[in-house]
Amino acid sequence: MNCDQLQSRIDAYIYGEMDFHEEEQFEVHASQCQACRHQIEQHRAMLRLISEAEVEPPRALLDQCRAGLRQSLAASSPSPGRWRTRLAGWLPAWGPVARPALACALLALAFFAGREVEQRRGLIPAGLDLARVRTIQGTGNGMVQIVLEEPHQRTIEGGLNDIDIERALLAAARQAPDPGMRVESVELLRNRCNRDDIRKAVLAALEQDESPIVRLRALDALRPHARETEVRQALSRVLARDSSPNVRVQAIDLLMDRYPADIVGTLQEVIRREEDEYVRTRILRALSQVRASPGVF
């Protein structure tokens, strides 16, 4: 092994990814070559330095993620009534830390279960029964593919402008039982939010969807419309009411992006009740950016 070969294999050596024979050659050369030993030391020092920039996610984030996942899965269950008992089974595996979050998830579930049944009865677009839609997917070239089970699998494909595709996307964004499908639908509708009915559907997803992921996607889709009154009002309500701190934080960012002075009142109002430490920090920072006081609280 020569110097160049050694230096191109330093990672493999440090990470213990060499076979016995290669490692042997590496060490023989290193033991005889001052320059290469220096290179190895430098490499180790660099990796140590980078290691210090590594961060551990806050424990609360893991709990939030788990609660969110439970909620999404519960919401996607075909028979929401049975989830109450089945959800209890999640507790032992994830331990006591997750309990308060689960209580919230159960409350939300109880609330949404009623709503969902009501919605699913109406509004199925002509010729397309959502219960039979297996997947909705963008194919990347402005086309959308919908796979139906009826009972044999059938695939329909069409452009975003296609009236049937559009209907399917609007319906799915609102009421597909699978949150993944709702995410995909919102994502496919996002560039067309300048149309009233589509923006309304995305706003509805932002304010009403039970999955925080879907709400985050909807929020993101509305980004270009953050100046519009209707959108700003919805975002203010989200900031005041959404159960997910992630969604609340994103709402702050988006509201602050345009006319930050307009939302001082909302921020002052919200911070009185805000319990999440991180969201509080973000609100305080937002207020200080517009040089407003947090108000009396």
């Binding site: 920039a53 996610p57 788990r66 992630n246």
Partner: protein
């Protein structure tokens, strides 16, 4: 219950088995996403999306690779997508319209979340910025391979498997990443 039994139970619809399966990997997945994206919101997105996909597709898991590899195929795809999107966003024009006229994007961008990471306070601000810059300068693949090898301790072969490539390709990718880092951090060593 061993993992294979857990997977079979989860495939049969046992939600508690699914929860146990998730709990065995989710901390690792979240840490990877959090470190790659440096944003709690984006990390949470990846977490949700990854395990929802696992849930949706678990029935199709045929035990022809390890569950870890199968899971990481999903996770690495999501991470690469998110990193690519982040890169595109970074390349947006530097000047934005605000209510007080055009301003530099940096001024209007929400502050970086350094305050979330108390450990990083140990590093000098200059060094921290330099490290952030070098990590951001890696390609999404280089970034991901480095993160998985250096921080997650995954073997290069497993990394290659989850990226649908060879161990050799993963090794080369890692090498390019650490070369860039050496070049960028040379004067701190």
């Amino acid at each position: 219950m061993d993992e294979a039994a857990l997977i079979r139970a989860a495939q049969a619809g046992d939600q508690q088995a699914f929860a146990s399966l998730v709990a065995g990997y989710d901390q690792q997945v979240l840490r990877l996403a959090y470190n790659l994206l440096r944003s709690p919101e984006e990390a949470a997105d990846i977490y949700q999306e990854a395990f929802l996909r696992v849930h949706r597709n678990l029935a199709k898991f045929r035990f022809d690779c390890s569950f870890h590899t199968w899971l990481y195929r999903i996770v690495t795809n999501l991470c690469l997508d998110a990193l690519r999107k982040k890169k595109v966003r970074k390349e947006e024009p530097a000047v934005v319209e605000t209510s007080d006229g055009p301003r530099d994007r940096l001024e209007t961008a929400p502050e970086q979340r350094a305050d979330l990471d108390p450990q990083r306070k140990l590093l000098s601000r200059e060094l921290r910025e330099r490290i952030e810059a070098v990590l951001a300068g890696l390609t999404p693949r280089e970034r991901l391979v480095f993160e998985m090898r250096h921080f997650e301790g995954m073997r290069l072969r497993a990394i290659g498997d989850s990226l649908g490539t060879t161990e050799e390709a993963a090794k080369n990718c890692l090498f390019r990443a650490t070369q860039k880092m050496r070049a960028a951090l040379g004067d701190f060593l």
